[in-house]
């Protein structure tokens, strides 16, 4: 379903070229749960952003569900992102002016073509809040939530448009072990019951071990860890 072929990405940092992703190829089947591990700065986040169409590779090709991302213009790519995939970032990624439930509903605001009423979206957002255990915080602003709670809201937001793919970058970084376990359970449920594809970048062995396949990123190169 996800095919990345020979993708490379180089950044300029203080006048020096940094090759964040170096000729990486990757295939991920529909409904697969895949993990990528590696040190900070190894290029994991850049690889995830390339797969998600947040940036374009210098070379190579990325095809998701038969759609070549590089062939899409901005509007089509944005719509593709909105409909097909979603991100969970390693930092607090909530919009500070919106309440918890509004943050969860936000991706739906950019997709008016789906013919869902505001009531339906709100109902779904409330359901997701319940799943992440924060029903009582629906009207709280991010500043009124702990780091862990904010992360759980961001996870709930990732599912509002019923995406086919979740690209998660250190999704449980701020969470305690108990909450991390709950989140893993949610991921597994979504993966098994709804067939959502997961590519998870993580330092957590607990999360990495959930994956059928685990990859290591090192100096921009990707290699599968045989288990």
């Amino acid at each position: 379903m996800i095919k990345a072929r020979n993708i490379s990405k180089t950044y300029k940092l203080n006048g020096q070229d940094i090759k964040a992703v170096d000729n990486v190829s990757l295939e991920c089947m529909k409904g697969e749960y895949m993990s990528i591990v590696g040190h900070s700065g190894s290029g994991k986040s850049t690889l995830l952003s390339l797969i998600g169409g947040l940036t374009k590779p210098d070379s190579g090709d990325i095809v998701i569900g038969g759609t070549g991302l590089l062939s899409l213009n901005d509007a089509a790519l944005s719509e593709f992102r909105n409909r097909k995939l979603n991100f969970i970032f390693q930092f607090a990624s909530l919009i500070p002016t919106l309440t918890a439930i509004e943050n969860i509903m936000l991706p739906a605001a950019f997709n008016p073509a789906r013919n869902r009423t505001k009531g339906e979206i709100k109902k779904q957002a409330a359901g997701l809040l319940e799943i992440v255990g924060l029903s009582d915080k629906a009207n709280a602003y991010p500043a009124q939530l702990s780091g862990g709670q904010q992360r759980r809201i961001a996870i709930a937001r990732a599912f509002i448009n019923n995406p086919d793919i979740i690209l998660a970058d250190e999704p449980t970084g701020d969470l305690d072990e108990e909450t991390e376990a709950e989140m893993i359970k949610i991921f597994k449920t979504m993966n098994k019951e709804k067939g959502v594809t997961f590519i998870v970048v993580t330092h957590s062995s607990a999360i990495a071990n959930q994956a059928r396949r685990v990859f290591r990123m090192q100096n921009g190169k990707l290699e599968e860890i045989k288990r």
Binding site: S49, L54, T55, K56, S78, F87, F89, A109
Partner: protein
């Protein structure tokens, strides 16, 4: 939840900054709106006044033309006198079609209304062609002896009595508002009434009037259509010694010249403030965009198009400038309404509040300028951030 909702939420994020931007737009809009209303008010007033004056020329004693101009524009009574035989001389000048005398008398402050100036104006109903036509608007019969018609700035009811120099006069009617002080502060009476008042003042008034029986203040002249006002003025001054002929156009021209000075000041200040506001909005929104880079990256990652980001930033500026514009128009209008009299008096300009159509048009125009200012000012920051690659925005914002 839609883009406008996000825009409003963003505006309320830093209230002090938003209020500062709103106030700066309000200041420019208020100045623009008040300026437009002021200019229109003065122009309406002067053109209406000149029309109501109804004469091509006003012939006055030489050396007193400035005083008469002040009387016409500012309504400050400046009694000047000349012998009545001037009237016949003027009638004999080539190109003069009609001529009628007027007499200006400085009114003693009348008992009821101590803080309002009035100018007493006598006219000759038999030869008059300037006052009579618009007296018909206020009175459907000839003005009788001991009756007066008053301007709108004199707060006396129809039928009431006013006493000047010991003579009681009945208010037969009042004229509509012109903004032209000569008319709005005028108390119009026949020569017969005025002569009797002068006579009685010697016995009844504390300060008797020292105006001789044969005095007049001005001769109002209507020229033959084939002779321009300017040429008529030259003819009169050439043929009648000791007088000056003021063309109605001169009065309008003098006011327009004053107006031009006021307009230049207003435009200079307005343009400087507009430039500052434009730069301010651009700088503030550039800062806002820099502050929110990561958020913009996140929104883009959630599926927002470049166009949505551009719309979001532009809409914020549009809302701020529209609120600022609205506030400015409201505040400018109120301040102008409260201060129009002292300001116009300071500039010695007549003033008439423009009609509602003009006020609405000026308000809409000002609002449009405010909104366009906001959009123009924010265009570059909005364009720049909408073009940013989502991942680059997220990384730079970290």
């Amino acid at each position: 939840m839609r883009i406008p909702y996000l825009a409003v939420k963003n505006i309320t994020r830093k209230p002090f900054r938003s209020i500062a931007l709103i106030l700066s737009v309000a200041l420019v809009s208020g100045l623009l709106f008040a300026g437009a209303i002021s200019m229109k008010g003065v122009l309406t007033s002067i053109s209406l006044g000149a029309k109501k004056l109804g004469a091509d020329l006003m012939v006055v004693p030489e050396g007193h033309e400035d005083k008469v101009r002040t009387t016409l524009i500012a309504g400050k009574p400046a009694p000047v006198y000349m012998p009545s035989d001037i009237l016949d001389k003027v009638r004999g000048v080539k190109g003069v079609k009609q001529a009628s005398p007027q007499l200006f008398i400085k009114a003693a402050v009348y008992p009821c209304c101590t803080d309002v100036d009035a100018i007493l104006i006598a006219f000759d109903p038999l030869t008059d062609f300037t006052v009579s036509p618009w007296l018909k608007d206020a009175l459907d019969r000839p003005l009788r002896k001991d009756e007066v018609i008053i301007g709108r700035s004199i707060p006396v009811e129809k039928g009431a009595e006013m006493t000047f120099y010991g003579k009681a006069l009945t208010v037969a009617g009042y004229l509509s508002d012109t903004g032209f002080e000569y008319i709005d502060h005028g108390v119009f009476m026949t020569f017969e009434t005025a002569r009797e008042m002068i006579k009685q003042s010697k016995e009844k008034a504390k300060e008797p009037l020292k105006i001789t029986e044969d005095s007049i203040s001005a001769v109002l002249v209507q020229m033959d259509p084939s002779v321009s006002s300017e040429r008529g003025a030259v003819f009169v001054e050439y043929e009648v010694k000791g007088v000056r002929a003021i063309a109605a156009q001169d009065v309008v021209g003098a006011v327009k010249a004053q107006l031009l000075v006021l307009l230049k000041i207003l435009l200079s200040v307005g343009f400087a403030l507009w430039t500052v506001t434009l730069v301010l909005i651009t700088v503030v929104f550039s800062m806002i965009v820099n502050e929110r880079q990561r958020e913009i990256g996140i929104i883009r990652s959630l599926g927002a198009k470049k166009q949505s980001v551009f719309s979001l930033i532009t809409l914020e500026a549009l809302i701020i400038s529209a609120i600022g514009g609205g506030l400015g128009i409201g505040a400018g209008g109120i301040i102008l309404y409260l201060l129009k009299k002292p300001v116009m008096a300071a500039f010695k300009l007549p003033y008439l509040w423009p009609d509602n159509t003009f006020i609405i048009s000026a308000g809409a125009g000002t609002l449009l300028v405010a909104v366009i200012t906001g959009i123009v000012a924010v265009f570059y920051p909005a364009f720049r951030c909408s073009r940013m690659e989502p991942y680059e925005a997220i990384r730079k914002g970290e």
